[in-house]
Symmetry: C2
Subunit: 465 residues, 2 copies
């Protein structure tokens, strides 16, 4: 087994880990990054189709206020371009397609009023949360004892059946989980990071831009700068820690360092053996922040034929097995790429079918919205994040009831020499690539302060008796 | 690495795994049991104090209707004896100790009325659950979108503040978790297995008997019968499975078999790498059924001095850091052993303190209820189940909201050649040793049927064209 020494070991070469490592290297430290997969990027992943088309199958879009991501792209020489948003979006309800434009769906006034009312009510609660300690808000305990699903299904909160359907579908999309699994406080905590649910539910805000070459290119270039410091195919099994330092062990590599930044999704950090065991609030938090399920399909056509029908490619169809689609055609405009999604229990049910049957159902759903041309894609690529050993679900970990109020303090607080990064631990832009980068830089900053203190302490004469 | 072949491999030598293995061996099959710890018994564990006193630090009591456990004791030549229940129980509320006897606490009529009302309401819901598929009950989705904590804190359900405090404390004890973490449907599912919460909340029913030598002696004798089939200190890292069989791999041992019974708590089964990965509903279920936290302390005194004060040793003190105590004096009557507990977030907080401070708080709490003699035990032994690598919490896994309705079908349904046992998967006496044994025997039965079918299929002439 290869043995390496460094100042800091970073576990995970997703956006959080790479951003942390980059900052530490810039500050002059020896850093080793240990990654389980045979690639960098984590939940951001470029896949190549047989015809050579490259599609981003994980985190893909940038949006308003995601300053660190836009800045990273500039620093790494990557261009960004606007998401195709011409033409109409589609809302499919009760078997009928409704065209609309802008952020508000094509529904009657009663539904729109109820949606506005519900979002305003959620916003009132969201604003009461301190960004760095939502569990300390007035009312936090009661909100953490409720589920988002229960809140949404209460007509007193959302006084229209259609609005309840629409909001339920949107929350399914945001968390890739049944809202019944998500704590109301946990949901508000995500919303808090973008200034409210209004940010996360408006693709015009969150998904306005794409990276030329795909968002995974950002990770690839960060990793290229780190060079041989990044060790792939090295799943960390064990982290030993004591007062003198830490040791990070994978089957092929052992790293001794002063500090470690664990920059994996919580569910994977919870599978690492810590020696001695972590204090209970840490291990129980890592057990509880679990991901949902998502299957994403890319269908490729000679050209984006929906654009000729004056459709944007963006559709929402609550109740359909494939409730969401969006145009993901490359910048060149050819071939036409449609990205479509199944979430949560919908993804579970589809995942149980045999592949031919699943493909049939999937293409039926697209055909209902885009016409017969949608039924015969030149390429069809499925990405089921739950079957990925180093994800175990997608796209983000959510907070089940009772998690934040009982264990939330362990989300970012270092456990001795162990620091934490992940988009789940971000206070701003939680759940997005932007949150991951910010969490990595925050953890790097903690480590820089700790290393600098240790250096000063070593340089000072010992004043203890 | 040692390579072994068998008909069936059982992962985990707790009560579920041992009971399964025993049944399979009795039916004439080759069985190998692979256990991570250096002992059998799992969550049932005898610990020895420096003075030679042996105390049961996990599952300890037997009770009404636990027929398989009583029968096992007879078969293994183990005597059972009654729990000491003479004298009064104590209820400590608002700084005052109240003596009482029987199952009903010493509170005023309004509190008792509210308790009766709440338990009757829970019972009405419980009775609607099919034992083997609680997720299919009418109303199940709505109950699974609520938490037990929210239900209990609603004055419309429990119309007395003291009753809410008492019920909250009792549920904390039952799940070792904040009721805000537990799905209402999940809680009812546990209750269903004993005929209602009335069973689980009445220690006169659930904890009426002890095993001479301690409950762990049942596991030790089952393991002795299995002999060299049981391999200790062999944590399973990987289970490969295909149409021809399964392979179970630990660092020291590899077992090839026709079938595997995974008989660990769900949280540990979720840490095994399955190759190919399990279908999502299984992996997501295993991620979600997480344990709570419990610290149990045994304090040993020359004699059970509380008996002289006409106290049973059983106390309940909601709000105290040590809310529960019970007499655990051995059958001989000497020395006096008191077992006391901290649960859930209370255990988390105590766990963060330094050991001397924790001991001080703990003995203060006992002294308030038992007088100054309690402050100076001859022995003091802590068992923190969350710090046990092969438990990661205690005492049982609970169902968070949305788990049973979305993933419940994966609880007992075999995944190909992989079968499941654990007290969490029991339909009767869920969460108890009795449930573990029943779940193991149920899984063994499934395997017997599958092996017998395979044998018949092999013996028949091939009729396929």
């Amino acid at each position: 087994m290869e043995q390496v020494r460094a100042d800091v070991c970073v576990v995970g070469a997703g956006f959080a880990g790479l951003a942390a490592a980059r900052r530490l290297v810039q500050a002059g430290h020896e850093v080793v990054v240990v990654e389980a997969r045979d690639r960098v990027g984590g939940r951001v992943w470029n896949r190549e189709l047989p015809d050579g088309t490259v599609v981003s199958a994980g985190g893909t879009w940038l949006g308003k206020g995601q300053d660190r991501m836009f800045q990273l792209c500039r620093e790494l020489g990557l261009e960004v371009y606007r998401q195709y948003e011409q033409g109409d979006h589609l809302l499919r309800l009760d078997g009928v397609n409704h065209r609309y434009h802008g952020a508000l769906p094509a529904t009657g006034p009663k539904t729109l009023f109820a949606l506005g009312l519900a979002l305003a009510r959620l916003q009132l609660m969201t604003r009461r949360l301190p960004a760095d300690a939502p569990w300390s808000a007035r009312g936090a305990r009661a909100w953490d004892a409720r589920t988002l699903g229960q809140w949404l299904s209460d007509p007193r909160n959302v006084p229209s059946a259609t609005a309840r359907t629409l909001l339920g579908s949107t929350m399914n999309l945001l968390f890739c989980a049944d809202p019944a699994e998500v704590s109301l406080l946990g949901a508000l905590t995500l919303a808090r990071g973008g200034g409210g649910f209004g940010y996360y539910t408006d693709t015009g805000k969150t998904e306005s831009h794409l990276v030329d070459g795909g968002a995974p290119e950002v990770a690839r270039r960060m990793a290229a700068q780190l060079g041989p410091r990044v060790h792939l195919s090295s799943p960390v099994a064990r982290i030993a820690h004591d007062a003198t330092g830490i040791e990070v062990v994978s089957p092929s590599l052992s790293v001794r360092a002063q500090r470690v930044i664990v920059a994996t999704p919580p569910v994977l950090a919870g599978r690492i053996t810590f020696d001695p065991p972590l204090p209970t609030r840490y291990s129980h938090l890592l057990q509880r922040v679990v991901p949902g399920a998502i299957i994403r399909v890319h269908t490729v056509y000679p050209q984006p034929f929906w654009r000729e029908q004056r459709l944007s490619g963006q559709t929402l169809a609550p109740g359909s097995p494939v409730p969401v689609t969006i145009d993901q055609t490359p910048r060149s405009g050819r071939p036409g790429v449609l990205s479509s999604y199944a979430f949560s229990t919908g993804a579970l049910h589809l995942g149980r079918l045999d592949p031919a049957r699943r493909r049939e159902i999937w293409l039926d759903a697209l055909t209902e919205r885009f016409g017969p041309e949608a039924r015969h894609p030149a390429q069809y690529l499925e990405t089921d994040w739950s079957s990925q050993q180093w994800s175990l679900g997608g796209m983000i970990g959510h907070f089940p009831p009772g998690t934040l109020t009982n264990y939330g303090s362990a989300l970012r607080e270092p456990a001795g020499r162990i620091h934490w990064a992940s988009t789940e631990s971000a206070t701003l832009m939680h759940g997005l690539m932007e949150g991951a980068v910010r969490s990595g830089e925050r953890a790097a900053q903690e480590v820089l302060v700790a290393l600098s203190r240790a250096r000063h302490a070593a340089a000072l004469p010992d004043r203890s008796p």
